[in-house]
Point group: C2
Chain length 227, copies 2
Amino acid sequence: MGRTADANADGPRVARGRPARTPAHVAEMRAHISSCALNLFRDEGFASISMRRLAHESGITPMTLYKYFENKFEILGTLWADVLSEVFDRLDALAANESDPAARLNAVAEGYVEFWLAHRDRYYLVFMSGGITQADVSSFMSDAALIGRFDVFRSCVAAALGERAEQEDIRVRSEALVCGLNGITLGLITMSGYSWAAPKALVQATTTGALSPQLRRELGALVPAQG
Amino acid sequence: MGRTADANADGPRVARGRPARTPAHVAEMRAHISSCALNLFRDEGFASISMRRLAHESGITPMTLYKYFENKFEILGTLWADVLSEVFDRLDALAANESDPAARLNAVAEGYVEFWLAHRDRYYLVFMSGGITQADVSSFMSDAALIGRFDVFRSCVAAALGERAEQEDIRVRSEALVCGLNGITLGLITMSGYSWAAPKALVQATTTGALSPQLRRELGALVPAQG
DNA sequence: CGTTAAACTATAACGCGTTCTACTAAACTA
DNA sequence: TAGTTTAGTAGAACGCGTTATAGTTTAACG
């Protein structure tokens, strides 16, 4: 002890031997692996693709995989960003095509649910891939850029409410809206044995519920009064 | 060929050799295994309990386990009924304690969400145990007795709407309500990194949304007119 | 009793995610 | 070029869910 190389601690460390992977190369490698993974997961499902197989298809050794990713789920996590981008790009386009605020809210909400229903493979990829634990999802979902994209809903709600909107009001309404839409998707996909009402009807009930004029008064009992 | 025992096909088959397991014994054995599984899963988590371990704790061979259950998830499925019973027993009690219809609806909705939030282990057990596929959940959820218990919500919605309620109206509203509550639970549990509004606020937004007076008119565009 | 058909056991095996260890290849400095 | 540090490889290993196989016990029959 005391014999190690960091005796000269007055610099970023003298470069001896092969340099460590540059962040750029790491990013490139992760992107390469993720791209292979996306194709494989889409075609054959997350559970069916083994790490050994993914490594082989990526032209890499299984061990190397674990140099770039903590585990299989972390690979999955990098794909979520792509899928969610896809959803929200579509929602933004839908929103741009509707000038009436209430109609816009409804269009976006419908688009969200219908995207998942039309691409169940992606839904499974994001929300239902096996063995997910609380920590896995929430750590990924705290990515600020991703969460920010859910603001479409918030701004649509704000626009539809118009003048009468207050901050906390909008927040609760739009979060409840997102939860409702997620719940609709979850129900229709995972409990397909039950004969649900039409998705559009459920979505519309949820969006009009989010704009219910009654809500603001009732919320007064829960959040600090604002004036 | 032709030498087999079913030459005498004029009966339910002659009993030769050890009789097959009686349905009662099968049920009993499954119950025994399930009971062991419930304790183990609750204490150490679904993923942490191996089939070898469960077999051992049940006083049984791993192979025998597979004689009574198709796979590990089927064991899990038998526990869902117990957990859901627990939820709905509580909801029924809550409903009985509230005479005002709107308050009752809210109490039941809150109770539902709060149960899952307070017993996340059970939530994982039911909704998030790894590797679940569409078929797994929906086949279980088509159990009529279980689905019937969700009618608490329907009847609460009907009572709160009072005279002005119509069949399809109630149906869509209560299904959207259930979806919304499921979505709230899903969001709060799996995306705990995000700072959601208070659960009670989200629930109240959802219940008042489900009673929104606007809804009935808008639904007219989607479902056949009723008069 | 012996026969028969089933229940159950014991054990090995497969591929999985993951980890470990020993090794080779590469990229830099002195 | 020699020395050093890291990247990547090769391959065994662990426990997992699950399956297959062969053997043993059990409960009914005649």
